[in-house]
Symmetry: C2
Subunit: 207 residues, 2 copies
């Protein structure tokens, strides 16, 4: 059993909470609005709180829009030392939907790792729409979560949580591969925003 | 019917020749070694020639490794004006398999467009392994070819060739999206090279 804290109770936060809870893990869900967070937490069997509460998890998922990550790191920075910090963000320029806001040779995950150097940062959950995480399926296939990071133990912990929740997990390589995962997430978002694919679809990984 | 010239008789060149020929298009296959090219052309019903022969196609597919593209453009540059030039390359650093050799904020396709400004360059066929092009399937799904480019008519022509050959085609946006298609192709290659996925697998697009 892993203790997991999810910050953010939007679609991705709720979906990851549901996956983690389904696998019998201890789940804490923190967001800004306590009432809404309690509703989401009740649905998944998580403990609810507000951002600023002490983190109980060894794994912390930053399930907030990328522009809100800086504030979360400002709140919790030193408390994240030693923890596995999972970045599921897609750092799009939402005004144009035509570019990312992180350096071309970097990634949101790399930016986060630089801000919390004593945490073990992973990129995960950014290449699967929330709907395909919640239903565990994309088309006829089981949803696969791609996980990139430099710490093999941290990746194994999160992969176990994913598999325990009924999804597939794949090691996508070192944290520098976050750049490609974010490109994939970005491309997939443009395809759905342009109605080329549905929000229940996207890229499915065939082994 | 479209007249298509494919430069390169490797796995991708042969697969694209087979797709184009299956759809009843006029196919010319050019490569360095005439004997090998004739064998590949016979298999797909294409006309064989060597690099340097006059191009008969209105669509030209650069099915060579990225390092060989410069030489092809040196040979044919002015002859490509007005043509639809399709770039299926994945510009990996093959010595490390850990980076691309094009600028982080650019793409091989953008580099090619800059070298042949009067051609209409498309990115396509780089996110599907040759095996999944040849069999038309990836897992249980029909293989989808992602096509990015700035010329809608050019994209429609290539999409028709793809669909006529029994695959799915999707408009992946402007030529600047080639950067994300190349990131996807790169990620997929690292997964196969590391035996996380098979060369008959990869990312399948669910609509």
């Amino acid at each position: 059993m892993t203790a997991i804290t999810i910050i953010g109770a939007g679609n991705i936060g709720q979906a990851v909470a549901g996956i983690a809870a389904a696998g019998g893990n201890q789940v804490q869900l923190l967001a800004r609005d306590l009432e809404r967070t309690q509703q989401a937490a009740t649905a998944s069997g998580a403990a609810a709180g507000v951002v600023g509460d002490a983190i109980t998890g060894d794994v912390v998922v930053l399930a907030v829009p990328y522009p809100a990550v800086a504030e979360v790191l400002g709140t919790y920075g030193p408390a994240l030392a030693g923890k596995v910090v999972v970045d599921p963000t897609n750092p799009l320029d939402f005004s144009t939907f035509d570019a990312l806001v992180v350096p071309a040779d970097g990634s949101a995950a790399a930016q986060i790792q630089a801000q919390v150097p004593d945490a073990r940062v992973l990129k995960a959950f950014n290449t699967t729409f929330a709907g395909t995480l919640a239903t565990r399926s994309i088309g006829d296939a089981t949803t696969t979560v791609l996980i990139a990071g430099d710490d093999a133990d941290a990746k194994a912990v999160v992969a176990d949580v994913v598999r325990g929740g009924g999804l597939e997990a794949v090691d996508a390589g070192a944290l520098k591969r976050a750049r490609e995962l974010e490109a994939l997430g970005f491309l997939q978002l443009t395809l759905a925003a342009g109605s080329t694919i549905d929000w229940t679809g996207g890229f499915s990984l065939v082994r």
